[in-house]
Each structure stands twice: as C-alpha cells, then as structure tokens.
C-alpha cells in the first residue's frame, strides 16, 4: 500500500498552491505600501526633508546646555501633573468597575442588552486618546487641572475596564458556587465570591494604569489641560529650547521613577 515511489522526492512544508498564495499576499502588501506611500508623500515638501539634519543640529545646539535654573519653576507644574494622573486614575477606576461588572459574562445581569453597551463604552474609551479627550474638555469646561483629570479618567475606563472584566471572567466558579450554596443573594455572591478573587488584579491594573497616566498627563498641557505640558508649550512657543531640554529631562526622570514605583507595588501585591 504505502509505496515509497508515490511520495514526492523533495519534502516541502507547504503545498505549491499555498506557497503561491503566500507570495501573492506579500505582493499585494508591497503594492498597497507603494500606493499608500505615493498618496502620503504627495504633499511632502522634499526641500524640508533634505534640510532636516541641519534643523536637527540647530535645535540640538540650542538645547545644550539645558537651562537648569528653570528647574525650581517646574516643581509646581510637576506636582499638578502627578495629581492629574493620580486623581484621574482614581476617577477612572470608580467608573470602570461597574462597566467591567456589566461586561463580564459571569456577572452581567443581561448578556444580550447590557453587555454590548458596556463593551461599546470600553472600546470607545480606548479608541479616543486622552489628548483628544482633553481637547474636547478644555473647550467645554475651560483650561485647567479639572479638564486634565476628567480626560485621564475617561481614557482610563477602557483600559481598566477591559483588563478587569477579563479578570472577573477568569474567577474560579467553585468559590462562587460555594457562596451560592449557602443561600447568598447576588450582592453577597459579589462581595464574598467575586471581590476577594479579583481585588489583587484590580490593584495591579490600577497601578499599571497610573504609571501610563503619568506619561499621558505630562503632555495634556499642550492643549491647555494643566500640568507640565503647559510649560513645555510655553517654552516651545518662545523657542526657548534650553528650557525645553530641562522639561523633557524632568518628564523622562518622572516616567522612570513612576515605572519603578509601579513595578515595586505590583510585585508586592501579586
């Protein structure tokens, strides 16, 4: 039956048709790329592009040495930036927890009606960047910290909500069953069955988001929502590149410290 001469002489991973299909796929991607490239560069002024290294040198030269005397003036905006991130994260968690409970398959009261709404809130919040939220909120409630805090909070709902509802769906059903067997109502099942299981996850997610929010809140000032971004905007508007250098280094240092803090906290919790 198994005649060895029936088998092909050369071994190959894929059949001929499959190989051709893969090559066609790559070809289509290259064609699409070339087409997109042409549309994108239609309005590009190449003289500016060739001039870029000189511009970079010019900006770099103006940034050095950084004007360290500017540093004390930055402490207040830095404090504001930290507050935007922290209060925004807290607001985000407060709004995200009910959304996540509605979105998780095992806790949602109505899988056909409420769950899609909760999922839409999560996707909508994640697809709009905090800078866009800030842009909108500054025109609605005016420039300042509050707009930044709300922007960060609205943006955080999607991230925290998504990770948290996945954590809820991964809870151990046995523990919930045990609570149910005692005759507990839905609220009691939630507090004694679900909450203890997901609490470490919620803390971890919140701290993780806080760390991301510090980066995001650093630039919110560009559209007027308070914090160190305001100073960045002002320094760039006056072309004070030596001040810009100080601000960027300070942001970088803050981001590194916050990343370290968040890593330490998450390690102790989980």
């Amino acid at each position: 039956m198994s005649d060895i001469s029936m088998l092909p002489a050369d071994w190959s991973l894929r059949s001929r048709a499959k190989r051709i299909a893969i090559w066609m796929g790559w070809l289509a991607l290259v064609a699409l790329f070339v087409w997109c490239w042409q549309i994108m560069t239609e309005t590009t002024i190449w003289a500016f592009v060739w001039d870029a290294p000189r511009q970079a040198q010019d900006i770099g030269g103006r940034m050095l040495p950084p004007e360290w005397g500017y540093l004390p003036e930055l402490m207040q905006p830095l404090w504001d930036t930290l507050n935007i991130a922290t209060l925004g994260t807290i607001g985000g968690v407060i709004m995200a927890v009910p959304v996540a409970l509605l979105a998780a398959r095992n806790t949602t009261p109505s899988a056909t009606f409420l769950r899609p709404i909760a999922l839409f809130i999560i996707v909508a919040s994640r697809s709009i960047n905090s800078l866009i939220w800030a842009l909108l909120l500054v025109t609605i409630i005016g420039p300042g910290l509050l707009a930044g805090i709300i922007a960060i909070a609205l943006r955080s709902i999607g991230f925290i909500g998504k990770l948290f509802y996945e954590a809820i769906e991964e809870t151990d059903p046995k523990q919930i069953e045990a609570i149910l067997a005692t005759g507990a109502g839905p609220a009691q099942v939630l507090t004694y069955g679900v909450v203890p299981q997901v609490m470490p996850a919620l803390w971890g997610i919140s701290v993780f988001r806080w760390d991301i929010n510090i980066r995001e809140s650093a630039i919110l000032g560009l559209v007027g929502a308070g914090g160190i971004g305001l100073k960045l905007n002002a320094s760039m508007a006056t072309l004070a590149w030596d001040q810009v250098a100080v601000i960027l280094l300070l942001i970088l240092a803050t981001v590194v410290v916050s990343e370290w803090v968040s890593a330490v906290i998450r390690r102790t919790i989980i």
């Binding site: 997109c36 994108m40 592009v49 870029a52 697809s127 960047n129 800078l131």
Partner: protein, 267 residues
C-alpha cells in the same frame, strides 16, 4: 487556664502585614489625596458656561454631520490611513533586525546592549513629543507623522520580538546548530518558524495602535485626522467633530475584529 482563642476568624492583611506601617500608609494616602484635591481649582462659572457647549457636543455626537466638512474629513482620513500602513511596514522592517540584535541568546553582548538601548530610547519618548520635534525638523504634514509612528513602532515591535526570541524552545535551535548550520541558517530554520506567527500578530496589533496614534499627533501638526479634528473643535463645529470621533471609533472597532480574525486565520 486555657488560652483565649478568638471565636471569629478575620482574614489577615496580606499586602502590609505590620499594623503601624499600614496605618501610617493609610494616613499618608489620605493626606496626599486631600492635598491633591485642594490644588484643583474649579472655576464653576466657566463650567456652567461650558455646559451649554458640552450639551451641543453631545447633540453633535448624536446627530453627526458627515457632509459639510467631508472634503477635510476624507483628506484627513486618507492621510491617517496611509501614514498608518506605511509607518507600520517600515517600522516592522527596521525592528526585525533590531529585535534579533536585542535577543540575548543570539548575539554577542555589545550588539545586545546597543539594540536594547535603541529600544529603550524609542519606548521612553512619548509619540506626541517625538512628533513635535519631527514637525520642527521636517515641516508640517503626514511625512513627520509617518516618521513619528515608525520610530514608535520600532521600540514596541523590537522589544516584544526580542523577548519572544529569548523565550524560544532552545532544543530546536540546538538541533539546527548540531547540523553545522551557520548563524543565518539557524535564524531561518530554528528561529523564524517559531516567532513568525507572533511577529504577524504583533504587526497587526501595532497597525491598530498606529491608527489611534495617528489621530493624536495631528494635533501638533503631524498630519492626519487629528488635524481635522483639532480644527473642527477650534471652530466649535461639534457636529463635524462628533462625526470624526464616530469614524475613529468605527475604524478602531473594525481593525480590532478583523485583526483578531486575521490572526486566527494565519496561525
């Protein structure tokens, strides 16, 4: 005398077991929150004035106006979409060698350190800040946006790719090494088959992120739909702004579903 055992059980605190430290931490957090709240000055008069605008924005979101600004919107969308695709392709092409260089098990230590440094620089700089600089250097428009997204893609893909390569099944690599294969053959036969599905998945994910980012960097002048959105909000044309936001949400949703479908299909 029998020892007094507690009759009720209390769950021990797990994160901070020491009681004094725990209370100190709690007080510290409360003090911080009180201070943080006190710095938030709210101009309630401004807020009430703004409420009317907020209402108009929500109305604009519910009754989006796609038509009157359609020329600007479609222009911005085309810029965003072309920018997204080209930057992802170029970014992935550049990040593959860097990712291989940043894998500890494949390259000598100096190469590893250089590549990891590139990854760290790319990851620590915020897209918007990079965009500001590139706009200053290359002028306004989608080309600066393309460069920004490419730069951000490199850090993302190269890091995740390098981490994946470091976690591959070493026995397969050893088997190929045992045949006397060169370094490039090792890459082609032992590493590539193991990481290719992950690389495709990561690229699709990054495509999705790049589109979202392309909607933001327009605010600082790097082209794309963000520029259109910025203009329409500045002009208080909330019905057009609502339309743009709905388009962004729709594209992100389509991208998310189609990329998860595509990943399943390719694996």
């Amino acid at each position: 005398m029998t020892a007094q055992y507690p009759t009720t059980w209390r769950r021990p605190h797990q994160i901070v077991p020491d009681r004094r430290l725990r209370i100190a931490l709690q007080i510290g957090v409360l003090v911080y929150l009180a201070l943080a709240f006190s710095t938030v000055e709210v101009n309630w008069q401004r807020v009430t004035e703004g409420m009317e605008r907020g209402q108009r924005f929500i109305m604009g979101f519910l009754q989006p106006d796609f038509t009157s600004r359609w020329r600007d919107i479609s222009q911005g969308l085309i810029e965003s979409l072309t920018m997204t695709l080209t930057s992802t392709v170029v970014g992935v092409l550049i990040s593959v060698p860097i990712g291989i260089g940043a894998a500890r098990n494949l390259v000598p230590r100096p190469v590893y350190l250089v590549c990891r440094a590139i990854v760290a620089v790319s990851r620590s700089l915020q897209e918007v800040i990079v965009a500001i600089f590139l706009v200053a250097m290359f002028g306004f428009g989608p080309f600066a946006g393309f460069l920004t997204l490419t730069f951000a893609t490199i850090g993302f893909i190269a890091k995740l790719l390098a981490d994946d390569i470091e976690e591959i099944d070493e026995t397969q690599a050893e088997a190929i090494r045992a045949t006397g294969a060169t370094w490039f053959q090792l890459l082609d036969y032992a590493i590539k088959p193991q990481i290719m599905p992950r690389l495709i998945g990561l690229s699709l994910y990054r495509l999705d992120i790049n589109f979202r980012e392309s909607a933001v960097i327009g605010i600082v002048g790097a082209g794309g739909i963000g520029a259109t959105l910025n203009t329409s909000i500045d002009r208080y044309e909330y019905d057009s702004a609502g339309a743009i936001l709905l388009i962004i949400i729709a594209i992100v949703m389509v991208a998310e579903y189609s990329s998860s479908y595509l990943r399943k299909f390719l694996q």
